[in-house]
Amino acid sequence: MVLKAFFPTCCVSVDSGLLVGRWVPEHSSAVVLAVLHFPFIPIQVKQLLAQVRQASQVGVAVLGTWCHCRQEPEESLGRFLEGLGAVFPHEPWLQLCRERGGTFWRCEVTHRQAPAAPSAPGEDQVMLIFYDQRQVLLSQLHPPTVLPDCQAGATPASTGGLAVVFDTVARSEVLFRSDRFDEGPVRLSHWQSEGVEASILVELARRASGPVCLLLASLLSLVSAVGACRVFRLWPLSFLGSKLSTCEQLRHRLEHLTLIFSTRKAENSAQLMRKANTVASVLLDVALGLTLLSWLHGRSRIGHLADALVPVADHVAEELQHLLQWLMGAPAGLKMNRALDQVLGRFFLYHIHLWISYIHLMSPFVEHILWHVGLSACLGLTVALSLLSDIIALLTFHIYCFYVYGARLYCLKIHGLSSLWRLFRGKKWNVLRQRVDSCSYDLDQLFIGTLLFTILLFLLPTTALYYLVFTLLRLLVVAVQGLIHLLVDLINSLPLYSLGLRLCRPYRLAAGVKFRVLQHEAGRPLRLLMQINPLPYSRVMHTYRLPSCGCHPKDSWGALCRKLFFGELIYPWRQRGDKQD
């Protein structure tokens, strides 16, 4: 196999020295982590490498020599470098050489022992692959390959060679902790040798986060204890709590806040990203909510809204009355059954009358209610939107009631018709065997059955029309609520931190790598530049989406149409944990 030497771009113009890194025999690759400069004492070097091996569990060793000199190296230097091979025994021994100011490199590989498999002459080719150490250290491959905890470099051959390189660089952080200003026994060159990277703000935040998290976590546990107390389990409150989307959204946010302020450290990078995304989502929510709050409370908009609300409700009720008058006449030229029409129409009209009186009763309190509801926007835009959705549901409660009446009536009629149709043909539904069986009826049974069948059949158009009209209205309200829920879902589950990271630091989220062939000359080793291939935005969204409330439409379109045809009630938004109907 061609020998691959991974060389960091930060060490391309450093002084001569020893190559320190890890040798992976399965992939025949040498990962160079740092360059150790002359002068050094071999005992100290070996001690340092043993310390690093123990701390990082990576098989770090001296891989060879690096020579960066003015012209072709003299023979004495060449013999000195070869002599080093005896001090630090490593198989194979690499010798990289570059002229100061030149572009082309030289690389020699010495095998001490004879190779196990006989290879053709001239087979010992070397490929130089340059990599940016900082980017490879900080980046994270997707999908993450789980490498087993290995001692001194034993890896299964099935894992990719590049995952091993990334893993090696990431785990050798302890080697990069010293910079050239430290007075240590050895002088290393790596990506941090010009000065260790750190940020004062990050350090301060880290120190402060401990006690702050403790305080907030205790507060949140108090809140959730209050929320879980027995009063809320009793029937009216628990029913309301499950039906109102505001309570669901508040519960969801409480869960998020508990996650953010929990005192347990994130175990792996996926959990860390989850925490960061949750923080970003909560911050965005609160920021948008505060904007909405300032817009609502400025220039007495709440007053205008409250003044407009009761006339709008009145207007809706009036339109419904007109609709019912139209249905009671001859709607679209269809001829209705007069008696049934009048009964249903009057019943619904009385309902609307009750509703209008209720609204007028509530009208003095509307402004106060709206003002307090507007305050809830400081908890987040999602809470405000859920409240809006609940208010719409409450205001169109009469439409919901009409839909339920119409649907029940229609459903009863359809079941009656199907059962009497079977009687008409002389058949019966066998409950025991769950199938249709023939049955001999008496004459009076047949007579009454046929009579009822005819009555129901001729009353069907009227009922069907009322059902159709109120179902359409109900579907309209459901569509509006659905749009609001969609928006809430979007804010809840958008992974803002990951998207921002992909935009500003694309090397952190890596889908893979890409190679570029650098200038090549015959007789010299092939040189490649390895760069990080960032994850596409669609995959970032897919991988780091936060789990949403779970309010998704359960029925497919076919099932929905079937339910509508048979008059079964549709509950398009089922919350998590609801019992099946």
Binding site: V2, S28, Q125, M127, V513, K514, F515, H520, A522, L526
Partner: protein
């Protein structure tokens, strides 16, 4: 908008700094330049359009194949623009609203930018490096490049496959990937040169070169 006739061969020669006039049906010749063997030939794709295949042999273990598609033609661009603007003018005479005309201009511009950035692929490159992997790059007309790299450990083989495409049966080159759980099964088929769609003669050239490298890699690899 710069539109170039599909004389990719001439463009390449100019870039290399050589003043050799290359005919459209170029004669194959190996030009060793500083250790890189370069070669350029003209082929056609399944619809009859002109393609230029440029091969670079960096070393015995590293080869690159670059297929350039015909550029955006002025004729089709003019035709589409005229159609859209005529339709917008027709609507304008009906509705007497000048917003339609500005909207048509915006749509044309945005559509052209979107087409150049997301749809029109200028060049497709296949880089095969022994014992490292295979890299496929697509360069779009706006300069965007999208790269995929497959490690050699995952590659089972490179084959030429047949497929039914609309009303034709075409040949395409594809990379077979190994199943990580069971090495003898094929988990995925990755087609190469999907938007250039060269004919069989071009595919055979690429196939032969890739098989040389794969054979060499299989002979010297340590794992089964």
């Amino acid at each position: 908008m710069v539109t170039r006739l599909p004389e990719a061969g001439l463009e390449r020669a100019r870039r290399l700094g050589r003043a050799i006039a290359v005919e459209r049906r170029a004669v194959r010749c190996w030009r060793p330049s500083r250790g890189i063997m370069e070669d350029e030939r003209s082929f056609s794709d399944i619809c009859g359009g002109r393609l230029a295949l440029q091969r670079r042999y960096y070393s015995p273990s590293c080869r690159e194949f670059c297929l350039s598609c015909p550029r955006l033609s002025l004729r089709s661009l003019t035709a589409v623009t005229c159609t859209v603007w005529l339709a917008a003018y027709g609507l304008f005479t009906l509705c007497e609203n000048s917003m339609i005309l500005s909207a048509a201009i915006f749509i044309t511009l945005l559509g052209l930018l979107g087409y150049l950035h997301f749809v029109k692929i200028d060049q497709e490159t296949l880089l095969i490096i022994d014992s490292l992997g295979i890299q496929m790059t697509s360069s779009y007309a706006s300069g965007k490049e999208s790269t995929t790299f497959i490690e050699m450990g995952k590659v089972k083989d490179i084959v030429i496959n047949e497929a039914i495409y609309m009303q034709k049966v075409i040949y395409y080159l594809c990379i077979l990937l190994k199943d990580p759980v069971e090495p003898h099964r094929i988990s995925q088929v990755v087609p190469v040169f999907q938007s250039a769609k060269p004919r069989l003669d071009c595919l055979i050239e690429v196939y032969r070169s890739c098989q040389e490298i794969l054979a060499h890699q299989k002979a010297t690899s340590t794992s089964p």
